[in-house]
């Protein structure tokens, strides 16, 4: 893994990780039993830098804030890296909040950019408070072509050629503003510096090291402090792989644990296009118990494990 003591910001550590582990797989994304995407660290960089350049060209400046409202998926991590690359402050918002709550937090955080999934953007557009949205640029992922996005851009089209300028941040610069859930009152924006994250990452990887070949199954929402660290920063600075499932149905989560890659003799599928067994996962106690039960309970009909289809 990288020696994090030599870095002053997350973007610098991630940038080095993308180069150092360039040939390793960093992200796998599956829709049920179908693999949709597989990226190496090198691929990740190729997707993220044109986005960073487009953000810079759109006057996204260092210290500007950018919010993300997305379920666990590759574009969450790619967008976050691009935002950090530009020196921006990330505002990860909980996708499970209502549209009205999203609008309140967008206003409170003063986010200049929003990256959001299409179905969530539809809900935000339908909210009465949408007319007052102050976010300057909205990037919508997975929006069908030709759909009216009310001035937002399709994430997939928002890219520019040319190398973006890397913006180095210092340890005490703000990296993220993370809103609490509000269970104890009004949600509070917790301001976290790059040093906070780098130290947390050093502690995490000292206790729970990752390495190339380890596959981490990301289940807790990535806006959550734990998955952000354990399902993004930690694995990346160690060259490990993060697996995203676009559904959290128990049978598919269970399969992600038990599924081993089949060799290429079956249906000609390339081994490089199969999800390998997940090694690590984080979960709350009740959820973990339930997952264990679903794996061990012999009365549960076993979902037939099949090789993941080629992307």
């Amino acid at each position: 893994m990288l020696d994090l003591r030599q870095y002053t910001c997350l973007a610098a550590a991630l940038r080095d990780a993308l180069d150092r582990f360039s040939k390793e797989v960093c992200l796998v994304e599956a829709e049920r039993d179908r693999e949709k995407l597989r990226l190496t660290y090198s691929d990740f960089k190729e997707v993220a830098l044109p986005l960073a350049r487009a953000l810079e060209d759109a006057d996204f400046d260092p210290n500007d804030r950018a919010a993300i409202i997305m379920t666990n998926q590759s574009k969450w991590l790619i967008s976050a890296y691009a935002i950090f690359f530009c020196g921006g402050v990330l505002v990860p918002l909980d996708y499970k909040l209502t549209a009205a709550e999203h609008l309140q937090l967008l206003a409170h955080s003063k986010a200049k950019i929003l990256v959001v999934e299409y179905h969530l953007w539809r809900a935000i557009m339908a909210d009465p408070g949408f007319q007052n949205i102050g976010t300057k640029i909205v990037l919508v992922t997975e929006a069908p072509l030709g759909t009216d996005l009310a001035g937002a851009f399709r994430w997939e089209d928002f890219k520019r050629k040319g190398a973006p300028d890397f913006v180095m941040r210092q340890k005490d610069d703000v990296a993220c503003i993370v809103y609490s859930s509000g269970t104890g009152g009004r949600p509070k924006g917790c301001v976290l510096t790059h040093e906070n994250y780098l130290e947390q990452c050093r502690s995490l990887t000292a206790w729970y090291p990752f390495w190339p070949g380890v596959r981490y199954l990301s289940i807790l929402p990535t806006n959550h402090a734990i998955d952000f660290m354990v399902g993004f920063i930690g694995p990346f600075v160690c060259g490990a792989c993060v697996v995203h499932l676009r559904t959290l149905r128990p049978e598919f989560v269970r399969d992600a644990f038990v599924r081993y890659p089949n060799d290429s003799e079956e249906s000609g599928a390339r081994p490089a296009c199969q999800v390998r067994r997940a090694s690590v996962v984080e979960a709350g106690p009740a959820e973990f118990d339930d997952r264990c039960k679903s794996v061990t309970d012999s009365s549960t009909p076993q979902h037939q494990a099949q090789p993941y289809a080629a992307a």
């Binding site: 049920r32 499970k96 999934e117 149905r249």
Partner: protein, 80 residues
């Protein structure tokens, strides 16, 4: 294609059988979490059963905030 009413009726019957609840105790506008006494993971289990029955796939996000049988039936009906 089955009618919306038939889809709804089949959902109620399947839910009753799956969770061993008398069919007559379930109504279209019931909150299925309360009526069936289930949690979110059990609801996902039911959903998988319904998907297999109707041969459709419902993305998780489509079901965010769906708590009653009638709305669930509507989500399935538009995919039949």
């Amino acid at each position: 294609m089955p009618t919306a009413e038939k889809t709804l009726d089949e959902i109620l019957t399947l839910a009753a059988a799956h969770f061993k609840v008398p069919r007559e105790k379930l109504s279209p506008d019931d909150d299925f979490f309360k009526t069936l006494g289930i949690d979110s993971l059990q609801a996902l289990d039911l959903l998988t059963k319904l998907e297999n029955h109707f041969r459709v796939e419902l993305p998780d996000y489509e079901l965010q905030g769906v708590t009653d049988f009638r709305t669930l039936a509507g989500k399935i009906q538009i995919r039949l």
